[in-house]
Symmetry: C2
Subunit: 710 residues, 2 copies
């Protein structure tokens, strides 16, 4: 991109020198010109011939306005002529304006006549940029006028934005259709709009002191896009960037923390009911195979393990220290951990930022930075990492190993994760409490789980992102490899207010989170249950190879609801069904079974009908994913259906036909056992729900599309 | 409302006589004038003085146009003058137009000059009316231009609409804010718009032959609302109205069917596995106390009951006949039931409309009508009515009696209802299969359950409403007494296509269903699980007395998600919390607990903190509903929390303080038992979900508002 950075620097220096925080219109034009941002051409003529010439170079029509410090109401003074269409008209207009102005005020100082390119309608849009506390520079695009004001029809991306980002912005607004031409209007020049978005986003990225920028309105037409008005606000005292350790160091430290050779428990206790006792028991009973060092001021032995007065007294290296002591003792013990070169401190104790004790938390951060020790928490339940059989927490031990890594900002949500995981037999690789996030946060976890061969899906609950930009940058890379799912709480204004009183964090504008998370390839869960259902189902589904989804159902009624759910979740039903495929399905189903998609095999069919149709669905390469609707009958009982489906899926897998399959089971309580059996054999299945299995398939698709796999 | 019906009749007769299906512009104006629908005033002047006078009566400015059959391009001929502002200008314009026209074409026949009221901008809106296959006459309102074209920002109501309906339409569109004035504009005259909507809706109701009507655009301003263009399409062959029995007869027949003194099983069988055997067993084992008459061509006794060859051979009166015979035998047996004066035939057999056999189904309808016997089905699983201990179905018997009456159009969904009901211990009064709905449909059930003292909530699944208008009219009355909840499948275009191939029903435009169901006070469930959760939770919640909701939570993280859910479900958190109330809550919670709403009691608190805060929430009359967020800890285990909450709620109930309370439980698997205990004691509670309990409370509120109880 051609950009005259020196020119912009010069303008900004001038603004800074004059102590202003906003640019004048001419300064704004200079900046736009330097970055190739189209604004109306303009100039001042001091004679009729010059006016004609100026107008000729910028192209007709033009608008002409008197330039006089003494005339405030130009129109009233007869000092404005619009729609000047030729060189002759320009000359005539010059004379007329000067004459009118003199007549209006004989003593007025007339400096000349401004000639400005006249914008020809088109579609009014808005392009802007802003600085977000968490995400930094953002570029915005929306429709002008009431659509942005009343309907808040606007979309955001991290700046700088690529042309692809810009294209996605044009498609993301509600009124996207308008850019394609409505009521016989012509489509706008998309390329010109993309260009403008990219340039604005580059400008604010190159010059962080540009805090806000508004091109409003931009007139977009089939010919191009021109900003009719430019507003630039600057801030020469931008906040210091947040400290970010080197990514390699993050991974090294996280590996030591999550797969430690030795763990110290600071505040270990022999007394049942104490947190330091629960942590010791969980480490031992969880099956952790490394060394365990209880730390206690007096006791010589705790639960059969030799205890030490300080980590510094332990003869071996220690990787992870779990803190189970009162908050006021943490800083001292943390310093000792630093001196001992421990990689990570798991700070269970509370009494820091969440109670208003900011100083206490900042002290811990300073010590952590000084000794290069990473801090998890404070104010957390600890963490589980199942491949190490590590339960570094006071909560009860996990039951099901698996491939989903979960984390939560809130302890309560963490407990819900643990309970659901056990109840729904969701296999987890890790559950991590982040609490006050004084140091380790979501992007540190992403970096670790990205390279963790035991983790296939990363699912996170958060209330705020302390450094949204760092998260987005890491998530964009990681989500190319593994699905990243997020439940962002404080979605609504009301929720955000609660978040703010809970963690002291300023919850961001949810629309920004929504757009940036999507830009980063993150799948957003809309509710706690959805986070949990996604975390459970997405990792066991194979990645689809295409968009064609087919519903095969024994219950016509489920077929309708499953179709609804497909639309709700952005899935595309293969429609119309190719004739030969339709005919092939028809061979297996009764003559009154419904054609097309859903394939309605009808209610009273034996297991073989389900098997034949599902086998065909898996075999034919034009079909990329299956949604099954089961109806409980005496002819095909739930467990018979479940076993048969698993058999067909495995039979086809052996032939290299691997596709995502989800199932909705309608029937009496026996369908619950069948749903669990299907899940345990790679088919996310739910009883009494047509929507949840489709939501899970939708999440897998959303991820695969964002990762460029479709 | 003043309306000149005779005038409209005269115009429509003229249109009919001339064999047209649309009205001309002057005809449209006559119709509008007859119903007081404001259109621009206009008249033709044949002299300058007359032009001045005409213009004066309609008010300035006016537009003047030449009237000549010979001049097609009026503007080109200089035959149009806009913005005529005074009587003098009108006279001058008259002369000028005539002169220009003569100059343009000396031979043109000039009939005069049309003087038309000139509309002064304002907001462009659309008001229309249409005829829907299921709902009949509907009135529509939307914003004009791109908002309706691109964003489909339009809303519908049944016609005729009341002024209150019309007011709700103005508030229902996405861009409602625009009517209140944006960008410094003035608010439109709401009363004038309401008036226009009411008049249009009355017109199409009075004259069913008006199939469509469009006022587009209507210019709405602070002064009033005038339709700039009117289009009326007529259809003189409207379809015959659907047969509707008298409501008293419906209730009488339904009472005989649901609470029969005697039931016949046509096709009863001793052979296990046969439908006629399952039905007999379910009647017997379900505990039905009336008489059971098996009907069988040969057997003398079935399962210990004397069998008859025909219902006509049974000596006593029979109320309900359950059919378990092949489809082709149904018509003959139904005729015998008719002769026996049986009230209702439960038509389990399939092979009718759902397989394309329309004639077969129509034959049953004819017989039903002839003998005044009501038909349930065909193609159904039958029904349960628990107060009669009646399982007139081949499905397994129910487990939990209660106060929710459910129905489903689809058999598969019916099975899901039965399974969920058993699994979640949802108490039901009835589960009814409606299948092909050849006769008995949703509004028949509403009429019965409305007067059924055993039913508190009615929850229905449907794919189409055969007679949406009848349903809406009944639902509007019934929903004033009892919540009516509906899962309308085929919501989306894709789902609707599936519905159509499934039942042969033309699924309506979902937006119409959405608006009309709301207008009728029906709460719409968005998914199968939501239908089931609402059916389970809504009946046990007391009706709130006001809008002020308070969240009391032990988990701050749950508080944020619960707040999000409140916004999503239209609940209003009491904010700001009155100072004295805030202070009163603070007395019970640690100093770092969060102020306001949510009341964050913090995580480590003992049971007494939950009890004190919840007691206060129930006691204070400024609070109308409570949402509890529980966090599983050792200090307050799940069942301790559950028992304590029930104790406080019952203690306060004894003092007359009855409020809806729902709970979200975050914790390990023990919270599931606690959730069930809470539900069984009147508190809908869910483990691992912050959204479901709030959705249930939201449904109760939505109903209470629509029923005028808030």
């Amino acid at each position: 991109m051609n950009a005259d950075k020196a020119k912009v620097r010069q303008v900004l220096d001038g603004v800074k020198a004059s102590g202003r925080n906003a640019l004048t219109a001419p300064e704004g034009k200079l900046v736009c010109d330097a970055y190739g941002i189209a604004v109306p051409q303009e100039g001042v003529a001091t004679g009729a011939a010059e006016a004609s010439k100026l107008a000729g170079t910028m192209g007709f029509p033009v608008v002409m306005k008197v330039v006089s410090p003494d005339i405030l109401h130009k129109t009233e003074a007869g000092g404005v002529v619009v729609g000047v269409n030729s060189a002759d008209e320009a000359a005539a207009a010059y004379h007329q304006i000067v004459a009118n102005a003199k007549k209006y005020d004989a003593h007025a100082s007339i400096l000349g006549v401004q000639v400005q390119q006249m914008l020809k309608g088109g579609q009014e849009v808005i392009i802007g940029a802003m600085t977000d506390g968490s995400f930094g520079k953002l570029v915005a695009f929306g429709m002008g006028g009431v659509l942005v004001e009343v309907l808040k029809d606007i979309t955001f991306r991290l700046a700088p934005a690529t042309r692809e980002d810009a294209a996605s912005m044009l498609d993301s607004i509600q009124a996207a259709e308008m850019l394609k031409g409505v009521r016989g209007g012509k489509a706008v020049n998309r390329s010109a709009l993309q260009d403008l978005i990219v340039r604005v986003s580059q400008l604010v990225s190159d010059f962080p002191e540009i805090a806000e920028m508004d091109l409003n309105p931009v007139f977009a037409s089939e010919d191009g896009a021109i900003a009719a008005d430019v507003r630039i606000v600057v801030n020469f005292e931008p906040k210091a960037p947040r400290y970010r350790p080197d990514e390699k160091d993050v991974v090294t430290a996280m590996n030591r923390i999550m797969r430690p050779k030795a763990v110290a428990v600071i505040g270990a206790s022999s007394e049942a009911g104490k947190i330091g006792n629960s942590v010791m028991k969980n480490l031992i009973n969880g099956g952790y195979q490394g060394k365990i060092y209880p730390i206690h001021p007096k006791d010589a032995e705790i639960l059969g393990y030799k205890a030490y007065k300080s980590v510094k007294d332990v003869p071996d290296e220690i990787d992870t220290a779990v803190f189970a002591i009162p908050g006021k003792l943490v800083a001292g013990a943390l310093r000792e951990c630093g001196e001992k070169k421990i990689a990570g401190a798991i700070l269970i104790p509370s009494g820091f930022a969440e109670t208003g004790n900011m100083e206490g938390q900042e002290e811990l951060q300073r010590i952590g930075r000084e000794y290069n020790i990473r801090l998890m928490g404070p104010n957390i339940y600890g963490f589980y990492y199942t491949p190490s059989n590590l339960c570094a927490t006071f909560c009860t031990a996990y039951d099901y190993k698996g491939s989903t890594a979960l984390s939560s900002q809130s302890g309560g949500i963490g407990m819900a994760i643990i309970g659901y995981s056990r109840s729904a037999k969701m296999g987890v690789s890790a559950i991590v409490g982040l609490g006050n996030k004084s140091d380790i946060d979501e992007d540190d976890l992403l970096l670790f789980f990205d390279q963790d061969e035991n983790t296939k899906v990363i699912a996170q609950h958060c209330e705020d992102l302390k450094d949204g930009r760092a998260f987005a940058e890491v998530a964009k890379r990681v989500s190319k490899n593994k699905p990243v799912i997020m439940l962002k709480a404080g979605r609504t204004a009301m929720g955000a207010a609660a978040a703010s009183s809970h963690t002291g964090a300023l919850a961001g504008n949810d629309k920004i989170y929504d757009d940036v998370l999507r830009q980063s390839g993150v799948v957003r869960a809309r509710s706690l249950r959805q986070l949990l259902d996604f975390a459970r189902g997405v990792p066991i589904l194979p990645t689809p190879k295409g968009e064609n989804v087919v519903i095969i159902t024994g219950a016509g009624g489920s077929g309708v609801l499953l179709s609804d759910a497909c639309v709700d979740n952005g899935l595309k039903l293969l429609k119309p069904m190719p004739q030969d495929l339709d005919a092939a399905f028809r061979k297996f189903i009764p003559p009154f079974g419904a054609a097309g998609n859903p394939v309605d095999i009808t209610g009273g069919e034996p297991p073989i009908t389900y098997m034949n149709t599902v086998r065909l669905g898996l075999e034919d390469d034009r079909i990329h994913a299956l949604i099954l609707g089961y109806w409980h009958t005496i002819v095909t009982p739930p467990m018979v259906f479940a076993r048969n489906m698993v058999q067909v899926v495995e039979e086809m897998k052996a032939k290299g036909k691997v596709k995502p399959v989800v199932a909705s089971l309608a029937g009496d309580v026996e369908v619950e056992e069948a749903a669990q059996y299907l899940y345990e054999h790679g088919i996310p299945a739910y009883a009494y729900s047509t929507e949840i299995p489709v939501e899970i398939l939708g999440a897998k698709y959303q991820w695969a599309r964002a990762a460029g796999l479709l």
